[in-house]
Symmetry: C2
Subunit: 135 residues, 2 copies
Protein backbone atom coordinates (compact mmCIF):
# COMPACT_ATOMS: atom_id res chain seq x y z
CA UNK A 1 0.00 0.00 0.00
CA UNK A 2 1.30 3.42 -0.96
CA UNK A 3 -0.16 5.74 1.61
CA UNK A 4 0.90 8.14 4.33
CA UNK A 5 -0.17 7.15 7.81
CA UNK A 6 -2.47 9.32 9.87
CA UNK A 7 0.43 9.75 12.28
CA UNK A 8 2.55 11.37 9.58
CA UNK A 9 -0.28 13.74 8.74
CA UNK A 10 -0.70 14.60 12.43
CA UNK A 11 3.03 15.26 12.70
CA UNK A 12 2.83 17.64 9.75
CA UNK A 13 -0.09 19.50 11.32
CA UNK A 14 1.73 19.75 14.64
CA UNK A 15 4.90 21.07 13.05
CA UNK A 16 2.87 23.53 11.06
CA UNK A 17 1.28 24.82 14.26
CA UNK A 18 4.62 25.03 16.05
CA UNK A 19 5.99 26.98 13.12
CA UNK A 20 3.35 29.68 13.55
CA UNK A 21 4.24 30.17 17.20
CA UNK A 22 7.10 32.48 18.24
CA UNK A 23 10.02 30.10 18.65
CA UNK A 24 10.56 31.06 22.28
CA UNK A 25 7.04 30.00 23.27
CA UNK A 26 6.31 26.44 24.29
CA UNK A 27 3.23 24.60 23.06
CA UNK A 28 1.75 21.69 25.00
CA UNK A 29 0.27 18.53 23.53
CA UNK A 30 -3.04 19.69 24.98
CA UNK A 31 -2.98 22.93 23.01
CA UNK A 32 -1.83 21.14 19.86
CA UNK A 33 -4.42 18.39 20.07
CA UNK A 34 -7.29 20.74 20.86
CA UNK A 35 -6.51 23.32 18.25
CA UNK A 36 -5.88 20.83 15.47
CA UNK A 37 -8.42 18.21 16.50
CA UNK A 38 -5.99 15.35 16.90
CA UNK A 39 -6.49 12.62 19.55
CA UNK A 40 -4.45 13.68 22.57
CA UNK A 41 -2.79 10.37 23.46
CA UNK A 42 -1.85 9.59 19.91
CA UNK A 43 -0.38 13.02 19.31
CA UNK A 44 1.55 12.80 22.58
CA UNK A 45 3.36 9.73 21.32
CA UNK A 46 4.02 11.32 17.95
CA UNK A 47 5.55 14.36 19.65
CA UNK A 48 7.83 12.11 21.66
CA UNK A 49 9.08 10.52 18.45
CA UNK A 50 9.70 13.93 16.94
CA UNK A 51 11.72 14.84 20.02
CA UNK A 52 13.76 11.64 19.86
CA UNK A 53 14.73 12.41 16.28
CA UNK A 54 15.52 16.01 17.20
CA UNK A 55 12.97 17.57 14.89
CA UNK A 56 11.32 19.26 17.84
CA UNK A 57 12.61 19.88 21.35
CA UNK A 58 10.70 19.53 24.59
CA UNK A 59 10.67 21.03 28.04
CA UNK A 60 9.18 18.87 30.78
CA UNK A 61 7.14 19.86 33.79
CA UNK A 62 4.54 22.54 34.38
CA UNK A 63 4.64 25.21 31.71
CA UNK A 64 6.59 22.77 29.58
CA UNK A 65 5.87 21.88 25.99
CA UNK A 66 7.43 21.68 22.57
CA UNK A 67 9.14 23.95 20.11
CA UNK A 68 10.65 23.41 16.67
CA UNK A 69 14.35 22.72 16.74
CA UNK A 70 14.78 23.33 13.00
CA UNK A 71 13.05 25.52 10.49
CA UNK A 72 10.62 23.78 8.11
CA UNK A 73 13.13 24.46 5.35
CA UNK A 74 15.58 22.17 7.12
CA UNK A 75 13.13 19.33 7.69
CA UNK A 76 12.26 16.90 4.92
CA UNK A 77 9.33 14.56 4.55
CA UNK A 78 11.44 11.43 4.72
CA UNK A 79 12.68 12.45 8.17
CA UNK A 80 9.11 12.71 9.38
CA UNK A 81 8.15 9.33 7.99
CA UNK A 82 11.22 7.73 9.52
CA UNK A 83 10.63 9.42 12.85
CA UNK A 84 6.93 8.70 13.14
CA UNK A 85 6.50 5.37 11.33
CA UNK A 86 9.72 3.75 10.22
CA UNK A 87 12.12 3.71 7.34
CA UNK A 88 10.48 3.19 3.97
CA UNK A 89 10.72 -0.40 2.77
CA UNK A 90 9.08 -1.17 -0.54
CA UNK A 91 9.38 -4.94 0.07
CA UNK A 92 10.23 -7.26 2.96
CA UNK A 93 13.80 -7.62 1.73
CA UNK A 94 14.78 -3.98 1.59
CA UNK A 95 17.30 -4.35 4.39
CA UNK A 96 21.02 -3.87 4.26
CA UNK A 97 21.59 -7.38 5.58
CA UNK A 98 18.37 -9.15 4.71
CA UNK A 99 18.31 -12.92 5.13
CA UNK A 100 16.00 -15.68 3.98
CA UNK A 101 14.04 -15.11 7.17
CA UNK A 102 12.90 -11.82 5.69
CA UNK A 103 11.97 -13.43 2.35
CA UNK A 104 12.65 -16.98 1.25
CA UNK A 105 13.05 -15.86 -2.35
CA UNK A 106 15.88 -13.54 -1.46
CA UNK A 107 18.76 -15.48 -2.97
CA UNK A 108 17.42 -15.86 -6.47
CA UNK A 109 15.05 -12.93 -6.79
CA UNK A 110 15.38 -10.92 -9.97
CA UNK A 111 12.95 -8.30 -8.66
CA UNK A 112 14.96 -7.19 -5.69
CA UNK A 113 17.51 -5.02 -7.42
CA UNK A 114 15.15 -3.13 -9.75
CA UNK A 115 12.65 -2.61 -6.95
CA UNK A 116 15.45 -1.28 -4.80
CA UNK A 117 16.14 1.33 -7.46
CA UNK A 118 12.52 2.39 -7.42
CA UNK A 119 12.55 2.60 -3.65
CA UNK A 120 15.62 4.82 -3.85
CA UNK A 121 13.77 7.17 -6.13
CA UNK A 122 10.83 7.36 -3.74
CA UNK A 123 13.12 8.03 -0.79
CA UNK A 124 14.90 10.64 -2.89
CA UNK A 125 11.57 12.28 -3.65
CA UNK A 126 10.57 12.41 0.02
CA UNK A 127 14.01 13.52 1.13
CA UNK A 128 14.09 16.37 -1.33
CA UNK A 129 10.68 17.61 -0.21
CA UNK A 130 11.06 20.08 2.65
CA UNK A 131 8.29 20.83 5.06
CA UNK A 132 8.39 24.40 3.86
CA UNK A 133 6.81 23.11 0.66
CA UNK A 134 4.12 21.16 2.49
CA UNK A 135 2.93 23.02 5.54
Amino acid sequence: MIKLSKSVEYALFAIKYLNYIPSDKLVSTKELSESMNIPYDLLAKIMQKLVKTEIVSSVQGTKGGYFLSKSPKQINLNEIIKAVDSEIRLTDCMFENATEDDCKRLNDCSLRSPLSNIQNKIIQLFTSTTLEEII
Copy 2:
Protein backbone atom coordinates in the same frame (compact mmCIF):
# COMPACT_ATOMS: atom_id res chain seq x y z
CA MET B 1 2.79 2.80 4.68
CA ILE B 2 4.88 2.91 1.55
CA LYS B 3 5.12 -0.69 0.44
CA LEU B 4 4.22 -2.92 -2.48
CA SER B 5 1.71 -5.63 -1.65
CA LYS B 6 2.59 -9.29 -1.99
CA SER B 7 -0.05 -9.47 -4.72
CA VAL B 8 1.83 -6.93 -6.82
CA GLU B 9 5.04 -8.91 -6.42
CA TYR B 10 3.22 -12.11 -7.39
CA ALA B 11 1.82 -10.38 -10.46
CA LEU B 12 5.31 -9.32 -11.46
CA PHE B 13 6.62 -12.88 -11.07
CA ALA B 14 3.73 -14.27 -13.08
CA ILE B 15 4.21 -11.78 -15.90
CA LYS B 16 7.90 -12.50 -15.90
CA TYR B 17 7.18 -16.22 -16.30
CA LEU B 18 4.65 -15.62 -19.04
CA ASN B 19 7.20 -13.48 -20.83
CA TYR B 20 9.66 -16.37 -21.01
CA ILE B 21 7.09 -18.64 -22.62
CA PRO B 22 6.52 -18.58 -26.39
CA SER B 23 3.56 -16.26 -26.78
CA ASP B 24 1.44 -18.89 -28.53
CA LYS B 25 1.66 -21.25 -25.55
CA LEU B 26 -0.83 -21.03 -22.71
CA VAL B 27 0.24 -21.23 -19.06
CA SER B 28 -2.16 -22.37 -16.37
CA THR B 29 -2.40 -20.97 -12.85
CA LYS B 30 -1.27 -24.38 -11.65
CA GLU B 31 1.95 -24.20 -13.61
CA LEU B 32 2.54 -20.60 -12.59
CA SER B 33 1.89 -21.20 -8.91
CA GLU B 34 3.98 -24.36 -8.74
CA SER B 35 6.96 -23.06 -10.62
CA MET B 36 7.09 -19.74 -8.80
CA ASN B 37 5.92 -20.96 -5.39
CA ILE B 38 2.93 -18.69 -5.12
CA PRO B 39 -0.28 -19.80 -3.33
CA TYR B 40 -2.58 -21.17 -6.03
CA ASP B 41 -5.85 -19.56 -4.99
CA LEU B 42 -4.33 -16.18 -4.43
CA LEU B 43 -2.52 -16.22 -7.74
CA ALA B 44 -5.71 -17.33 -9.49
CA LYS B 45 -7.45 -14.18 -8.34
CA ILE B 46 -4.51 -12.01 -9.31
CA MET B 47 -4.53 -13.51 -12.81
CA GLN B 48 -8.21 -12.72 -13.14
CA LYS B 49 -7.52 -9.09 -12.30
CA LEU B 50 -4.74 -8.96 -14.86
CA VAL B 51 -7.17 -10.32 -17.44
CA LYS B 52 -9.82 -7.78 -16.55
CA THR B 53 -7.35 -4.96 -17.10
CA GLU B 54 -6.18 -6.53 -20.36
CA ILE B 55 -2.60 -6.98 -19.30
CA VAL B 56 -2.89 -10.72 -19.90
CA SER B 57 -5.46 -12.70 -21.87
CA SER B 58 -7.03 -15.98 -20.91
CA VAL B 59 -8.46 -19.05 -22.58
CA GLN B 60 -10.93 -21.03 -20.51
CA GLY B 61 -11.52 -24.75 -20.35
CA THR B 62 -9.21 -27.73 -20.59
CA LYS B 63 -5.84 -26.78 -22.03
CA GLY B 64 -6.71 -23.21 -21.27
CA GLY B 65 -4.51 -20.72 -19.51
CA TYR B 66 -2.97 -17.29 -19.79
CA PHE B 67 -0.70 -15.40 -22.13
CA LEU B 68 0.67 -11.87 -22.16
CA SER B 69 -1.39 -9.48 -24.22
CA LYS B 70 1.32 -6.80 -24.24
CA SER B 71 5.05 -6.87 -24.15
CA PRO B 72 6.69 -5.93 -20.84
CA LYS B 73 7.89 -2.77 -22.52
CA GLN B 74 4.26 -1.70 -22.93
CA ILE B 75 3.26 -2.45 -19.33
CA ASN B 76 4.07 -0.05 -16.53
CA LEU B 77 4.20 -0.61 -12.80
CA ASN B 78 1.33 1.72 -12.07
CA GLU B 79 -0.95 -0.40 -14.26
CA ILE B 80 -0.07 -3.46 -12.21
CA ILE B 81 -0.71 -1.73 -8.91
CA LYS B 82 -4.03 -0.38 -10.16
CA ALA B 83 -5.04 -3.76 -11.56
CA VAL B 84 -4.08 -5.86 -8.56
CA ASP B 85 -4.63 -3.53 -5.59
CA SER B 86 -6.22 -0.22 -6.45
CA GLU B 87 -5.32 3.26 -7.54
CA ILE B 88 -2.62 4.88 -5.44
CA ARG B 89 -4.00 7.27 -2.84
CA LEU B 90 -1.51 8.96 -0.57
CA THR B 91 -4.27 10.16 1.78
CA ASP B 92 -7.97 9.51 2.35
CA CYS B 93 -8.87 12.63 0.39
CA MET B 94 -7.06 11.89 -2.86
CA PHE B 95 -10.29 11.54 -4.81
CA GLU B 96 -11.52 13.65 -7.65
CA ASN B 97 -14.73 14.41 -5.78
CA ALA B 98 -13.81 13.80 -2.18
CA THR B 99 -16.28 14.92 0.44
CA GLU B 100 -16.10 15.46 4.18
CA ASP B 101 -17.12 11.84 4.54
CA ASP B 102 -13.66 10.94 3.27
CA CYS B 103 -11.94 13.37 5.65
CA LYS B 104 -13.57 15.94 7.89
CA ARG B 105 -10.62 18.30 7.47
CA LEU B 106 -11.10 18.43 3.73
CA ASN B 107 -12.44 21.93 3.41
CA ASP B 108 -9.69 23.80 5.20
CA CYS B 109 -6.73 21.49 4.83
CA SER B 110 -3.49 23.13 3.76
CA LEU B 111 -1.80 19.77 3.32
CA ARG B 112 -4.06 18.43 0.63
CA SER B 113 -2.70 20.30 -2.33
CA PRO B 114 1.03 19.83 -1.66
CA LEU B 115 0.50 16.16 -0.82
CA SER B 116 -1.41 15.78 -4.06
CA ASN B 117 1.65 17.05 -5.90
CA ILE B 118 3.81 14.48 -4.20
CA GLN B 119 1.33 11.75 -5.05
CA ASN B 120 1.45 12.81 -8.67
CA LYS B 121 5.19 12.44 -8.68
CA ILE B 122 4.95 8.94 -7.24
CA ILE B 123 2.34 7.94 -9.80
CA GLN B 124 4.54 9.48 -12.48
CA LEU B 125 7.47 7.42 -11.25
CA PHE B 126 5.49 4.17 -11.32
CA THR B 127 3.89 4.98 -14.64
CA SER B 128 7.22 5.67 -16.28
CA THR B 129 8.66 2.40 -15.02
CA THR B 130 8.01 -0.37 -17.53
CA LEU B 131 8.02 -4.01 -16.61
CA GLU B 132 10.91 -4.48 -18.99
CA GLU B 133 13.01 -2.64 -16.42
CA ILE B 134 11.78 -4.78 -13.55
CA ILE B 135 11.32 -8.36 -14.61
